[in-house]
Amino acid sequence: MARNKNLRNQIAIAVLIGIASVLHVVEGLVPPMPVPGAKLGLANAATLIGLRTIGFGAAVGISLARSLLGGLFGGSLLGPAFLMSFTGAVASALSMGIASKLKKLGSNNIFVSVIGAITHSIAQIIVAANIINHSGIWFYLPILLGLSMLTGVFVGLVCEKVLTLLPGALSADSNNCRD
């Protein structure tokens, strides 16, 4: 049983990495947001679903793998733009892992998703500020934070829906899958 559970987790992580990588690339093509370079953050939904169904390690792994693969597909691997997405994705996964441990709000997908989105923006702005070394970027911080709260709610709602629709497909301890 333990082996089957392990295998099922590995498959679920692989599927989530695939979904996250595709979302990561597709999001870059979606019509521009009100702030240049801002994204909806749907790739983060895969991280949150991984966190909820498998655990903290899986969430960090998915975010690591998807920013690496996304960078590879987009051709920005190891460049400054990759550094921004990589730092943002990993910081967001770490913060969501911590936020999910909170007593009252930790089980709320919208709250955890918003924490992830906010951390993502802050981490990216810090990296960008170091690259371009220009004070003008700090003027964008409140706008980006406000925007990421809105997109965070949206992504949280998506996660909520996915997690209720797929109770057995991704969950390791479900009885819905036959071994």
Binding site: G28, P32, P36, G37, G74, G75, S76, G79, P80, A81, M84, L105, S107, N108, N109, I110, F111, V114, A128, I131, I132, N133, H134, S135, G136, I137, F139, Y140, L141, P142, I143, L144, L145, G146, L147, S148, M149, L150, G152, V153, G156, L157, E160
Partner: protein, 127 residues
């Protein structure tokens, strides 16, 4: 987590988000242009940014400048009191989306083509 709780959490966060977004926009639009403005182009190098060219704004002429980056040529347009990245060889086009730059601290950065355009008033160099 029950549905009612979700609605409240979402509502509070959305209101806070809108307030921050609008407040940020107001902050951005509250900056005032100085008497003499410049558009400055930097190349972003690993050691830091390097000044490439400073172009005065406000002489009422429309001018096109071309700058060579690792991916190709970034075209910068200066038109009266404002400047913008007109075209760029980068895949994401974020630098073009920044649009017209006219106030101090306005900037447009292109990480793939390692190029940055900023607006400076010739007095404050806070960096």
């Amino acid at each position: 987590m029950d549905k009612k709780n979700n609605i409240w959490v979402a509502l509070i966060i959305i209101l806070l988000g809108i307030a921050l977004f609008v407040g940020g926009k107001v902050l951005l639009s509250s900056r005032k242009a100085g008497p003499k403005m410049y558009a400055t182009v930097y190349s972003l190098e690993e050691a830091g940014k390097k000044l490439v060219r400073t172009m005065p704004l406000g002489d009422g002429r429309k001018q096109i400048y071309e700058f060579d980056g690792p991916l190709g040529i970034t075209v910068v347009e200066v038109d009266g009191n404002r400047a913008r990245v007109k075209s760029s060889p980068c895949p994401d086009q974020v630098c073009v989306q920044f649009g017209w730059l006219a106030k101090p601290h306005d900037f447009s950065a292109c990480l793939p083509n390692a190029m940055m355009v900023t607006i400076e008033d010739g007095q404050t160099y806070p960096y």
